[in-house]
């Protein structure tokens, strides 16, 4: 089970976001900087939440922003955004959100492996807290069990 690479460009720490849309847009921007998606992908991630609600807030403080595969996905990618001030997504139990993981997959098969790896990385109870406090992309990669520089 292999996570997509998380280059420095895909990490943005202690970002100021006015609301959940701005926060999700940051996760999309980070995926775009890393070359994984076109900028429109961010709006599709926002549409998923508009359509289905804040279920993407899968654990206290953590949102897994994502959309279906599409032509705006150039290759599989992962981004991590931490917020300077937590924002509410409208989730009944898991608000406010401090960490947004952006996920882009090109097809369903590769996605299952990535997500399984992601679930593994978050098995530690304090992973979200440690991510929220991370001061560098290296630290984020270490928490997620990714090799340095990847």
């Amino acid at each position: 089970m292999i996570l997509p690479p998380l280059p420095d460009e895909a990490v943005a720490l202690r970002v100021h976001a006015a609301d959940w849309r701005a926060a999700v847009r940051e996760a999309g921007r980070a995926l775009t900087r890393a070359g994984a998606v076109r900028i429109e992908y961010a709006e599709r991630m926002i549409s998923v939440i508009d359509e289905f609600g804040a279920y993407v807030v899968i654990a206290p403080g953590l949102a897994l922003a994502h959309a279906r595969p599409g032509p705006d996905v150039l290759h599989e990618g992962l981004s991590v955004v931490t917020l300077a001030e937590p924002v509410a997504f409208g989730h009944p139990h898991n608000d406010p959100v401090r960490v947004i993981v952006g996920l882009a997959v090109a097809n369903a098969e590769e996605h299952v492996a990535s997500v399984a790896a992601l679930a593994n990385a978050f098995n530690d109870h304090d992973a979200v807290e440690r991510l929220a406090a991370a001061a560098s992309a290296d630290e984020v990669r270490a928490i997620l069990g990714l090799e340095a520089g990847r």
Binding site: F52, Y55, A67, A116
Partner: protein, 94 residues
């Protein structure tokens, strides 16, 4: 025994739920097959399932989507908390 994990887009969240449910079932020694589905496909995916795992946010939509189906809808708060999942799954399957 069949279990379906459901999310809005069928990508990401339902897959996390599936992976963690499989882990918990393994730990509990319960033999069950877990699949992932989006909201659109849930009626078909859950036609022969005993349990549907989803988030509180989507539970009402899942209920509407499955119509006359007797699968139990189990609402999961924290998709990453294996202990919560174990309690929920033991309650509905045990």
């Amino acid at each position: 025994m069949r279990i379906v994990a459901v999310c809005g887009a069928g990508i990401g969240t339902s897959a996390i739920l599936k992976v963690n449910a499989e882990r918990v079932l393994d730990r509990l020694g319960i033999d069950a097959e877990v699949s992932a589905s989006d909201l659109e496909g849930v009626a078909r995916a859950a036609s022969d399932a005993q349990v549907i795992l989803t988030s509180t946010e989507l539970a009402a939509a899942v209920r509407r989507a499955i119509g006359r189906n007797y699968a139990e809808i189990v609402e999961v708060r924290n998709f990453l908390d294996l202990d919560e999942l174990a309690v929920l799954l033991e309650r509905s399957l045990g």
